[in-house]
């Protein structure tokens, strides 16, 4: 009888960390041929328009960066938390918390000197997201509440807080829709390139990649955060205040997601609406995993998924394949990457009995 067994293997060399996500992406793209063919799309034409639509023209290329900025931030948020084994599935809610804080300030700061408006909003959005993430972190460290479930549930609490406010005190006067008034002009992110939506938030996202890389590699806190993720007991006995480290990790993680919300509000929508985020927080999980929880990995995987999301629009127009192919690809990519990661630690052996 032939059976398969999964056995531990020796650690793979460093280059495997780069090859594996790329291989996972290639396999995912091959698998996504199935839904494309079911939709009756011409395969090569579909793939061509997927990439042409995201990279082929100046405007589309810049749109890909526009889309990548919230994905990069939520991806970083999730990656930074996961690295410390704080299972933050709540980037979606933290993003909304950031957008909410930016809305409250952005609508009402007409009297504040103009150069101060954006810095205040950005800091407030970061803090709002951070505080929202610190709730499950406190629950985890003080009361041993499972962080996956609590962060997930808090997403819905935040959605309903937002709903209550958008039907209540934040609702645009005279409107019957759940939407806020527009933010003042000085609260908008400046557009940096003519005839595009390439805005300041994109630079903030790239800056965040660098800052997180710096924290991870060059600071004591980055080391402690990783130590907690590798082995919390050992970290504790090694003299690290693990409670404080998890809390600060959560604050930074939530803050990054909050910045994504600020960007969507101040650069794209200019007013708060219920569907300000099409699930960027959840995409962040896929991006963090594909990026091996490394900031540079997150940078590239967020750009990749942005290509898929932006390109899917053109592909849909040209071939009739629904744009939701982008969501299907994200889900598949996560599962494929998970399987690939398994085989970095384990190998499959055929056993004859």
């Amino acid at each position: 009888m032939i059976r398969f067994r999964i056995e531990k293997r020796k650690p793979l060399p460093g280059w495997a960390k780069i090859i594996i996500p790329i291989a996972a992406i290639v396999v995912t793209l091959i698998l996504s041929a199935i839904p494309i063919l079911i939709a009756g799309g011409h395969l090569w034409k579909s793939y061509f328009y997927l990439f042409y639509g995201a990279l082929g023209t100046r405007f589309n290329l810049l749109e890909t960066f526009v889309k990548a900025s919230p994905l990069m931030l939520t991806g970083l948020a999730v990656a930074f938390a996961f690295r410390a084994k704080f299972w933050n599935i709540g980037a979606e809610g933290q993003l909304l918390a950031g957008a909410l804080a930016a809305t409250v300030l952005g609508v009402h700061m007409g009297a504040v000197p103009q150069p101060l408006v954006l810095p205040i909003i950005i800091v407030a959005g970061f803090i709002a997201g951070g505080i929202w993430a610190s709730i499950p972190a406190i629950l985890k460290t003080k009361l041993k509440v499972d962080d996956v479930v609590s962060t997930l549930l808090l997403n819905y609490v935040m959605i309903h807080i937002m709903g209550a406010l958008l039907f209540g005190p934040l609702q645009q006067p005279g409107s019957s829709w759940p939407r806020s008034s527009a933010i003042i002009e000085s609260a908008q992110y400046p557009v940096l390139l003519m005839r595009s939506r390439f805005h300041m938030g994109i630079l903030i996202a790239f800056l965040a990649v660098f800052v997180i890389w710096f924290i991870n590699k060059k600071t004591t806190f980055g080391y402690q955060s990783k130590a907690v993720g590798v082995n919390i007991r050992a970290a504790h006995f090694g003299g690290i205040n693990t409670t404080a480290v998890i809390l600060w990790t959560a604050l930074i993680s939530g803050g990054l997601a909050g910045l994504a919300g600020v960007g969507e509000l101040c650069a794209i929508q200019y007013r708060l609406i219920m569907d300000i985020s099409p699930g960027y927080g959840y995409s962040g999980i896929v991006i963090a995993m594909l990026g091996n929880l490394h900031p540079v990995g997150v940078l590239f995987s967020s750009l990749f998924f942005s290509v898929i999301i932006v390109g899917a629009q053109t592909m849909s127009r040209m071939t009739g394949v629904p744009t939701y192919i982008a969501e299907v690809i994200q889900g598949m990519a996560l599962m494929v990457m998970l399987i690939f990661l398994l085989f970095t630690e384990y190998k499959l052996r055929v056993v004859r009995k």
Binding site: L139, V149, I329, Q330, G331, L342
Partner: protein, 316 residues
């Protein structure tokens, strides 16, 4: 004002709405209990419900048979349950991430297939939904009768499933096997229970229940498919499992609280009371977080939950 609103018709209507809105949560909660009792947290639930809702609608729309729609929803739930089993049981991958992967994948797929089949119509296509069945005699009981006993057949089935699931888990050999696998797979293996098979079957059967729970929303509660039709009800079910201590009967109480709050806001809106209904919808989540705080001190959680089982690693 209050007297006008809270009359007998309102109360009766509220009871009916509570029962209706609790139905999908009951199906999903029972499905999740089955999975978690065998030791697997299935976070694919939200996506499985959406696929069930979409498939049930699509098949009913195409075939004209609502029964076929429900069966198809169950079938799709089983297939996704099998996929979850492959990832989390056979390969032993992280249950959290596997489940989220399935939710993301199934959510995307549901919207993809719907859009492929129906395009983007200005008026969403509709089906002839389930009819409510008034049980003879019982539905004539004053005040509570019409609400409790004029329901969709799926609601009655959901209520029948609660004792069935309790008996299955606590009074049968199969239930003993499931609980042993969830508590201590090493012991289960030693006494000859196939851990992998048991967990797989629980995920498949649980997936069927989740799929039907989703289909209730498009085949009975509404007669159309909207992208946000599940709206976090899968996560509510995850919460109710914890809230209810992994017990089918106690989990139902949580589902009823959710159904009541959901039904209350719907009824109040329909009689024209301006209420911040989002506050109502928030309560179940807050209650669950409170329940989570107390559950971390209790021992009800299946001991092997979240732990993959690999035979050769036992003892190691």
């Amino acid at each position: 004002m209050m007297g006008e609103i809270f009359d007998i018709a309102f109360i009766s209507g509220l009871i009916g709405a509570t029962m209706r809105m609790a139905t999908p949560i009951i199906f999903a909660t029972l499905g999740e209990i089955l999975a978690e009792r065998s030791g697997v947290l299935n976070l694919g639930i939200e996506g499985i419900m959406l696929m069930g809702a979409m498939t049930g609608f699509l098949v009913t729309f195409s075939s004209g048979s609502i029964l076929l729609g429900v069966l198809a929803a169950a079938m799709v739930g089983m297939i996704l349950g099998l996929l979850m089993a492959f990832l989390a049981v056979n390969l032993g991958l992280s249950q959290h991430v596997s489940g989220l992967g399935i939710t993301l994948f199934a959510t995307g797929l549901a919207m993809y297939i719907y859009r492929l089949h129906f395009g983007s119509p200005t008026v969403p296509p509709i089906i002839q939904p389930f009819k409510q069945i008034a049980l003879p005699v019982l539905s004539k009981i004053p005040v509570i009768g019409p609400g409790l006993f004029t329901q969709y057949s799926l609601t009655y089935i959901a209520w029948l499933l609660i004792p069935i699931m309790s008996i299955l888990l606590y009074k049968t050999k199969i239930g003993l096997k499931i609980r042993t696998v969830g508590e201590n797979p090493v012991v289960a293996d030693t006494v000859g229970v196939n851990v992998t098979l048991t967990r797989t079957l629980c995920l498949v059967a649980g997936g069927a229940l989740m799929g039907i729970g989703g289909a209730f929303l498009t085949l009975a509660h509404q007669n159309m498919f909207l992208i946000d039709v599940i709206g976090g009800r899968g996560w509510v079910a995850i919460a109710m499992v914890i809230f209810g201590n992994w017990d089918p009967v106690k989990g139902t109480i949580g589902a009823l609280i959710f159904g009541f709050l959901d039904g209350l806001q719907l009824r109040l809106q329909s009689v024209g009371v301006a209420i911040p209904f989002h506050i109502f919808l928030m309560i179940p989540y807050l209650l669950t977080i409170l329940a989570l705080i107390s559950v971390s001190r209790r021992a009800a959680v299946p001991a092997a939950l979240l732990k993959p089982y690999r035979r050769e690693e036992k003892g190691g």
